[in-house]
Amino acid sequence: MAETLSRSQNPREWLAFALVWGSAALVTATFCWLLGDIVWHGLSHVSWTFLTAPPENAGRRGGIGPILVSTSLILGVCLAVSLPIGIGTAVLLAEFTSDQSLFGRMTRRSLDVLAGVPSIVFGLFGNAFFCKTLGLGFSILSGGLTLACMVLPILIRSTEEGFRAVPASYRLSAAALGLSRTTTLVHLLLPAAVPGLLVGLVLGVGRAIAETAALIFTSGYVDRMPESLLDSGRALSIHIFDLSMNVSGGDANAYASTLVLVIMLLAINGTASWLATYGLHRKVVTV
């Protein structure tokens, strides 16, 4: 009653109502358009052969087999490096340093900046440091290492959240029983922090798979099947970029590759939010 009264009195309320619903509708429509377009054009080209066959004629025909292999190798290198460093840093920040300590503050701030660094700048850095200075050249290794630097902030932040969500009573009771901190960490805190860690892992994987700009001049363009980590390998996102920009007549395969990439990312994001909810749920039940 009060609402209808004020609405009829106040055209501003009506305008706001229309604007808010309008923007939500606009965003939803755009999203559906984008996704629908990709699914519509891409679906007919995706098949088992497409996923396994090597690309032919600069990618106009053939599939994306070697490209998927390169992508997973880059991802593997990225995780193998970023996981230990990320978890270690998160443990140190959450459990072994106070929020006031200089070391903790400096690390945190530098990670904040790192999280904002544009991917193309990571590309420049990776090219100068891993490819040139360390002499790794255009290779899967360089690309993976560059991505590792990039996903670290995400990984650290959500792992740290995971540790902070562990009730303080675990730490107190463990200390009161005279358990060492290593034991407390390994047997009590780490298992309890696993949901946060997994969310970080999944988000990091998502960011790594989505990345293009940082890989163009670190892991390179070569679309052959890589033979070692020191070979150049083309990531899926670079393949899409190359097909749509540099190869005329590559649109059909570009659509199909885009669809594959989008499905991978939707699956990853779904996993992340499922994990986040499931992890929270479990915590509520057990404590």
């Binding site: 109502f17 984008l34 904002g116 193309i120 090219n127 630097c149 970029f241």
Partner: protein, 292 residues
Amino acid sequence: MTSLRSNTLSRWPTDELLCWVLRGTATIAGTIVLLIVVFLIVEALPALYHVGLPRFFTDPSWHPADGLYNLTPMLWGTLFAMTGSVLIATPLGILSAVFCHYYAPPTLARPYRRLIELLAGIPSVVYGFWGLVVLVPLIAEIQPPGPSLLAGILILTIMILPTITLMADASLANVPQQYLRGAAALGLPRWATIQSVVFPAAKSGLCTGVILETGRAIGETMAILMVCGNVVQIPSSIFDPIRTLTANIALEMAYALGDHRAALFVSGLVLMAMIVALVLAAEWISRGRVYG
């Protein structure tokens, strides 16, 4: 929550060891930023030395092969694309968040939030590709050539929209319930409450969101590269093609040598400086919220 110094665990060798290992990993993680800055500077030095900073703004044009290094058109390109997209995405994103919190029924709010999260996870190359095959031809029908500042602004808007929406969503969720109840008790209608109670209370979170989206808009490379046409010029209308700083790096890095390569690292440094400034601004704002 614990401080290392006060804890006497010297008798427990595994604890000591663990501590040093952890500090090692954190040091690696913390120095990456420094390493990035150092490498950008080292690689940019030849250009700064041979060309000098002023010439990046005063040279007649950007023709690295002829030794001409004017970055201004690219700076303008970045600035225009960024401003345009932030101007569209900010109201749209904040209204989206308002929709989730105060207008949508719960059955709609939850899927809408999920949708925004999905948008946030879609790679830039996918947006770029879509822009290239869908948006650019549409714009070409209105006003050729098609690849243009407008296409860049629209794509960037879609890309940064999730950033501001999720930030705004989080800060609206933090507005204390008693403010809303107080406003309801005064009989304020919905939008009046949002405008006069919710927005002021969520101000710092919204500002942080704007800063974050600005950072994303500045740093975006692939999508912009694919839809903007990449002509080095200061645009005279939104239908003119432009080239941004990031696109310039991505386009020329592959074959750049010597001073040209160094000049690209200079533009990398410029980008980095912008981002650091934005992060510091965001931190300053959020500190204001904590202590103010």
